[in-house]
Amino acid sequence: MIHPDVEAQVDAYLDGELAAMDAVELEAHLAGCASCGRFRDDRLALRTAIAAQIPRVQAPEDLRGRVRAALREAAAPSRARRPAPLMAWRWLALAASLAVVAVGGWRLGMEHTASEILTDEVLASHVRSLMPGHLSDVVSSDQHTVKPWFDGKLDFSPPVHDFSGRGYPLLGGRLDYLDGRPVAALVYGRRRHVINVFLWPADGPEGAARPVVRRGYYILHWATPELAYWVTSDLGLSELTDFARLLRLGDSAAAASQPSP
């Protein structure tokens, strides 16, 4: 039987955290008490095993690069007006992913206050959607269920595609309200992450904005001649960009296969 008050003392003793006087007292007890001595040996064996068996992994090298890039972006006085040179690769990565539709050199002006407000709205909608019961009005992984669900609820028909085969399953859809109008929100999953896609008919020029990171969420925005897209998630930027590429491919493929209205 181990003396119960001795357990934590032995741990503290082995951790070098016991005061000198207490340590002397404990050593005397351990010398005379077989069960407590055995307890100490067991704990020593456990510590040795942890030290020998649990690897001290290092952070992946690309994580260092991503952390530094994110820090630079966050520290820049104004990301839109003065993009940090080290962030250029991110913009290039997104631009490359969007090159399938000719975007040209044009960018949406994220510096406009209206756009900043909309970014906040998108983020707030995303966060609200993560609260229990708010994610989807129609829960389905079937694009042929989700797409018709919007009929009669919106004055446009959003393109809906399932990317399960690529690891981004469609989870459902819901109505949301952004930029002063009802919009379609499509919900996709990636492991345990949720991606919200907000879309509505565009009345501005075509183009793509630089990715924005806010409160740990990335926000991507682009516009086709027909629709404005806002995509947000707590996924990493590379995966979210990958998803955005699929979305654009899916939508542009659908547009190409449909007769023009």
Partner: protein, 180 residues
């Protein structure tokens, strides 16, 4: 919006905090139990640390490490809450994992070739409160005082929590030994 920083301030932040990147990653990895999610947590934690760096008054590597790890820990717990993970995996049944485990002693068990697997499994299945103190003490080598700063509970609580965590680890190892 993020803070507006002088470039030299960002450099100072990186010089002080980036050396702790791997420690941050390890803690995030053990708390989220996922490489992907650890990546996200670490990035979020560094952004938050940058935001509040102006208020950091500590000196030396061990204080800056404890300060950063406290942020990583909070981000990881926020992450866990957000994803509602861990709920079932870490429920610990005292009636099963109790003093009644009178089987082999850990020394015999740990000499086996599958010791690493058993230990990793046992660590991964500790409740988060116990997992974090074990990681901070055994893997990162933090003092009780530093751990108490990271976890924000008194040193005495750290002492008893560590002891209970080790007991659970040992019991879990004995238990897994029986199942082998």
């Amino acid at each position: 919006m993020g803070p507006v920083l002088e470039p030299s301030e960002l450099e100072r932040f990186e010089a002080v905090m980036l050396p702790h990147l791997s420690a941050a990653y390890r803690l995030a990895r053990y708390l989220t139990r996922s490489d992907y999610d650890a990546d996200d947590v670490v990035q979020e934690a560094f952004l938050r640390a940058l935001k509040y760096f102006g208020g950091f008054r500590g000196e030396g590597a061990s204080q800056s490490r404890a300060w950063l790890l406290a942020i990583v820990r909070n981000m990881a717990h926020t992450w866990r809450h957000r994803h509602r993970a861990d709920a079932s995996a870490t429920e610990f049944d005292e009636s099963v994992h109790s003093e009644a485990s009178t089987g082999e002693h850990p020394e015999a068990l740990l000499s086996r070739t599958d010791a690493r697997e058993a230990l990793t499994h046992a660590l991964d299945h500790l409740p988060p409160d116990f997992r974090e103190v074990i990681v901070l003490r055994e893997i990162e080598g933090l003092s009780y005082k530093e751990i108490s700063e990271v976890v924000d509970v008194p040193v005495g609580t750290i002492m008893s929590r560590l002891s209970r965590a080790r007991k659970r680890l040992q019991d879990a190892l004995i238990d897994s030994g029986k199942e082998l």
